[in-house]
């Protein structure tokens, strides 16, 4: 059990159905484990310190609080997503974890290192991928890797060996001599991942890694990350505003206005919405809404001309509503709630609560 100060209680991370299938091989990326990073992280995960332990983190830019009292724990080997809209504070949290900005208030231990005092030792053990490309376009792919390696004290034969292994692993071997600026966005991301993994980090932190990637490249990249976690046991923490990306992770921390409003596996978050989502298209939706309310005692909400009903056992409702009003209905869609529904559910809830509490969210700062 991982208890968070945000009021959420999360169970142990799910390791099965929410992870992408590691058997799928995205084009060009080698999935063989022959050049794999040693699985130290997974082997040590039972006894070693958690990947991230953060308590009461706060971070302000001047008067504006970007992170406003956030506590959470990320286990070793976990695939964790920080999900939130732009401006929600996730990039600031990324900067804190990746040691890019100093800790202002609160305490954090990352891989057991005190974030304030033990920064250099910690930096050797984490790999970082930035939202804005961190590759040097004027250098070749191989040169980018070499410079990065030497910054971590890796040189000579070991550097050549690690570079060749990472290039092969990420399907970049034939582009090694090309200037990085000539690569596509997806390939640049792979180069960044190769550099971030060169020094065999136990924790990989990524800020919006799929920014600027087309859907296919985004999917490949995520599948590779999941594969990396499974073969090498690397803990992965990424920030995202894509629901489908967060959905592939073990657990999601939902950030809204600098606070963690929930932290749980995707399935558990969805379960909070209260069942299935049924959407009904009708010739006269308003008339149908009233009839459903009268005869079935169920409140449907009209959103953009579509009737939406949140119901446990939604398939029963579909059967009943079609039997009762079949003539008036044009189509019925039935589905499990998406994270989008979850986000509206969570932050909408907060919004109303905040308004009742004298609207202190923005004004107090």
């Amino acid at each position: 059990m991982v208890r968070t100060r945000a009021g959420a209680v999360a169970t142990a991370p799910l390791m099965d159905d929410n992870c992408p299938q590691s058997g799928i091989n995205p084009v060009g990326i080698s999935m063989t484990a022959s050049t794999a990073i040693p699985a130290h992280a997974s082997a040590a995960s039972v006894t070693a310190a958690p990947a991230v332990e953060a308590s009461e983190l706060r971070f302000s830019y001047g008067d504006r609080a970007a992170i406003d009292g956030v506590s959470f724990t990320i286990a070793r080997g976990e695939f964790f997503a920080l999900l939130g809209p732009n401006g929600g504070g996730k990039t600031t949290l990324f900067k804190i974890i990746s040691t890019l900005v100093p800790l202002q208030t609160g305490d954090a231990r990352i891989l057991g290192h005190d974030l304030r005092r033990d920064t250099l030792a910690l930096r050797r053990r984490i790999g970082v991928v930035f939202q804005h490309p961190g590759v040097d376009g004027k250098l070749t792919v191989a040169e980018n890797l070499a410079h990065h390696g030497r910054l971590y004290g890796i040189g000579g034969a070991r550097l050549r060996e690690r570079s060749a292994a990472m290039l092969a692993r990420l399907g970049l071997s034939d582009r090694a001599g090309d200037l990085a600026e000539t690569l596509s966005g997806g390939l640049k991301r792979r180069v960044e991942l190769a550099t971030a993994l060169l020094h065999e980090p136990e924790l990989l932190v990524l800020d919006e890694p799929s920014t600027g990637l087309d859907p296919a490249a985004r999917r490949d990249f995520l599948i590779y990350l999941a594969h990396l976690r499974e073969t090498a046991g690397v803990t992965i923490v990424l920030t995202t505003h894509y629901m489908e990306e967060a959905e592939r992770c073990d657990r999601i921390g939902v950030l809204h206005q600098g606070r963690l409003v929930a932290i749980a596996p995707p399935a558990e978050l969805k379960a909070r919405v209260g069942g299935d989502i049924v959407a009904i298209n009708a010739r006269d939706p308003e008339a149908l809404r009233r009839k459903i309310a009268e005869r079935m005692r169920i409140n449907a909400v009209l959103v953009d001309g579509v009737l939406r009903v949140e119901r446990p056992r939604g398939h029963d409702f579909v059967r009943d509503v079609v039997e009762a009003f079949g003539d008036e209905i044009e189509s019925v869609t039935f589905g499990k709630p998406t994270l989008e529904d979850v986000f509206v559910h969570l932050t909408g809830h907060r919004f109303f609560a905040g308004a009742a509490g004298a609207g202190d969210n923005g004004d107090a700062r």
Binding site: P133, V135, R150
Partner: protein, 261 residues
């Protein structure tokens, strides 16, 4: 220690590699001062004699070491300006989260920038005969060494500003406000001896004056008596080296404050 050398060395190498792939930068930083020198010197040599200029020297020749320093200044600025953008959305982001101290980052950057500034200024040295200066081998070597010290100091000033400032526009503004006046008041354009008393004091307090004085004397190595009115070579070299160390300390401190580690 070995790791620090490897880290600083790789940052140095990166600056060199990048520069070599952007030829227009190499040529521009060299040509602009050359054109200024030729036009100013040619235009003023016949009519203009600032007070205190040594006898037997024309203005074209007097300006020559000043424009060597201008080559150093321009290239140092260009070499450091990338720091502004690079640390927010470029290669430096990765350097900042690597296990490397901020001082080591600045050493690598400063050595890189200084090398880039130094090479074209050494090429400029070949033009000495056109200025009427007969360089001995010893004088050329001493001047080149002095130019390296000045290049390092100017690059460090550039870095101190680049690590502080948020935008490249701000960088240009501050460069024009700080570095160009420092250069103008270093004895590049007129001798200290002939300047009004108040200006003399400002020039004596300007650390670059001593770098300039040392460079000027090394160019005439063995025949410096003719120059007159300059601080002694030993004193000028001492101040120039102390200035380089101080600017490095300032740049390292600024980098540490900007990134808080």
């Amino acid at each position: 220690m070995r790791e620090i050398a490897m880290q600083a060395g790789t940052l140095w190498l990166r600056e060199i590699t990048r520069f070599m792939r952007q030829r227009s930068r190499v040529i521009g930083s060299f040509l602009q001062p050359l054109v200024f020198w030729l036009l100013l010197g040619a235009g003023l040599r016949a009519s203009f004699r600032p007070a205190g200029m040594p006898a037997g020297m024309d203005y074209f020749q007097y300006l020559y070491p000043g424009f060597i320093v201008l080559v150093l200044l321009f290239t140092a600025i260009f070499a450091t300006i990338s720091t502004v953008e690079d640390r927010r959305e470029g290669f430096l982001q990765g350097v900042l989260v690597a296990p490397i101290s901020r001082a080591t980052i600045v050493i690598g950057q400063a050595l890189g920038g200084a090398t880039l500034a130094w090479v074209p200024s050494v090429i400029f040295l070949v033009l000495a005969p056109f200025a009427g200066i007969h360089l001995t081998l010893g004088a050329a070597l001493a001047a080149a060494a002095m130019m390296a010290v000045i290049a390092f100091a100017l690059t460090c000033i550039g870095l101190a500003i680049a690590w502080k400032i948020e935008s490249t526009q701000g960088f240009h503004a501050i460069m024009n406000l700080i570095l160009v006046p420092i250069w103008l008041l270093s004895g590049a354009f007129w001798p200290i001896a002939g300047a009004p008393a108040a200006l003399q004091w400002i020039m004596r307090l300007n650390p670059l004056t001593y770098g300039m004085a040392a460079l000027r004397q090394t160019l005439y190595l063995g025949a410096t008596e003719a120059l007159g009115g300059l601080p002694s070579l030993a004193f000028a070299i001492t101040i120039a080296i102390a200035f380089a160390l101080a600017t490095f300390a300032l740049a390292a401190r600024t980098a540490r404050r900007a990134t808080a580690f």
